[in-house]
């Protein structure tokens, strides 16, 4: 039976407010040694987003913009690509391929409970190979 995504997802979600600066995000990414942050909605009408190292490089640093002055909300990607925690690893891989994204967020009801990245999928595939 195909493995459910909640079995391999990473439940440690690092977040950042939408009105924080890009520099604050860079500090957090470096301190936590991660590559993305979940961007919290500004208000009830807003939706969560994601800011990645890729966003920061292409939308700020490569354009010589000042990371102290650019707000996260200006560069974050929305809407989040999400799946239910009951989805299979194959479902997530298909989404990654379709949208050309490196991570998919996992939802339980309306709440985001985890994230799965390419690295998690690769580790999962290697472990399954070793078990067979």
């Amino acid at each position: 039976m195909a493995k459910k995504i909640y079995e391999i997802m990473n439940t440690k979600l690092e977040t950042i407010p939408a009105d924080a600066t890009v520099y604050e995000a860079i500090e957090k990414l470096i301190d936590k040694r991660i590559r993305s942050l979940l961007v919290l909605p500004k208000d009830e009408k807003d939706r969560p987003g994601v800011v990645t190292v890729r966003n920061i490089i292409f939308k700020v640093l490569a354009k010589n913009l000042d990371p102290h002055k650019v707000k996260i909300s200006e560069i974050s990607s929305k809407p989040l690509i999400t799946v239910s925690k009951e989805a299979t690893v194959e479902d997530v891989l298909a989404l990654m391929e379709k949208y050309n994204i490196a991570r998919v967020f996992i939802k339980e009801g309306d709440e985001i409970v985890g994230v799965v990245s390419f690295f998690d999928i690769m580790a999962h595939i290697l472990i399954e190979r070793a078990k067979s």
Binding site: K12, A123, L126, I127, R129, A130, K131
Partner: protein, 210 residues
């Protein structure tokens, strides 16, 4: 591969079969520890002591067969070292079970989910170690097993850091509660380190036979 390379005599076969049994007992002990955490039944912790005694007797048997002349002399220390490394996993399992008996259960509830994740990973790792040992004998791909074990070990390291982050925020006023939970976590997270060492050792044996 070992059997073929070293003649595949009766003594060698006995060592390999007994080692497989020994590793199966290690797997059973991992499963037992996982059940202890699930059920929180203190009585179940004693199954680890029983399994450790059983493993101890197999370990002595393996070493004495090797002394009787199994395997070429240069390979003997490698087999003995592998067994001695895995023996440390039993020590860590025993410490973990012992500390669990005295653990403040309110504190345990706060980290139960993480502890169970580690126990599951330890169980998976012990299963892969068995497959790695079989791969060594059957000349299959031991490198893939070794890599999977390394991936798992890094996961345990990450969970250990998460637990440490949580624990640092607690105010533990009883000395024994603090000592107890610290030694419990230390022993629990050491198991994956030991399995990784054992797997690395198998990989080295594999390389040395090529």
């Amino acid at each position: 591969m070992l059997e073929k390379l070293l003649g595949g005599g009766k003594l060698e076969k006995k060592v390999l079969d007994t080692t497989k049994k020994y590793l199966q007992i290690l797997r059973s002990a991992m499963e037992c520890l996982k059940n202890v955490f699930l059920t929180e039944n203190i009585e179940e912790t004693y199954c680890i002591d029983a399994l450790e005694r059983e493993a101890d007797s197999l370990r002595r048997e393996i070493i004495s067969i090797i002394y009787e002349g199994a395997f070429l002399p240069y390979i003997r220390p490698n087999i003995c070292n592998f067994i001695e490394i895995t023996e440390k996993a039993f020590d860590a399992l025993k410490t973990c079970a012992f500390e669990f008996r005295y653990l403040n259960k309110d504190l345990f509830q706060k980290i139960k989910e993480d502890v169970l994740r580690i126990a599951n990973i330890n169980l998976d790792m012990s299963e892969i170690l068995i497959k790695a040992f079989s791969a060594l004998i059957e000349k299959n791909n031991i490198r893939e097993k070794n890599l999977a074990i390394r991936i798992y070990e890094k996961r345990v390291d990450e969970i250990k850091l998460d637990i440490a982050d949580k624990i640092r925020k607690w105010e533990i006023t009883n000395f024994w509660d603090g000592k107890n939970i610290s030694e419990f976590i230390e022993a629990l997270t050491k198991i994956s380190d030991i399995i990784e060492d054992a797997s690395d050792y198998l990989y080295i044996i594999d390389l040395s036979l090529k």
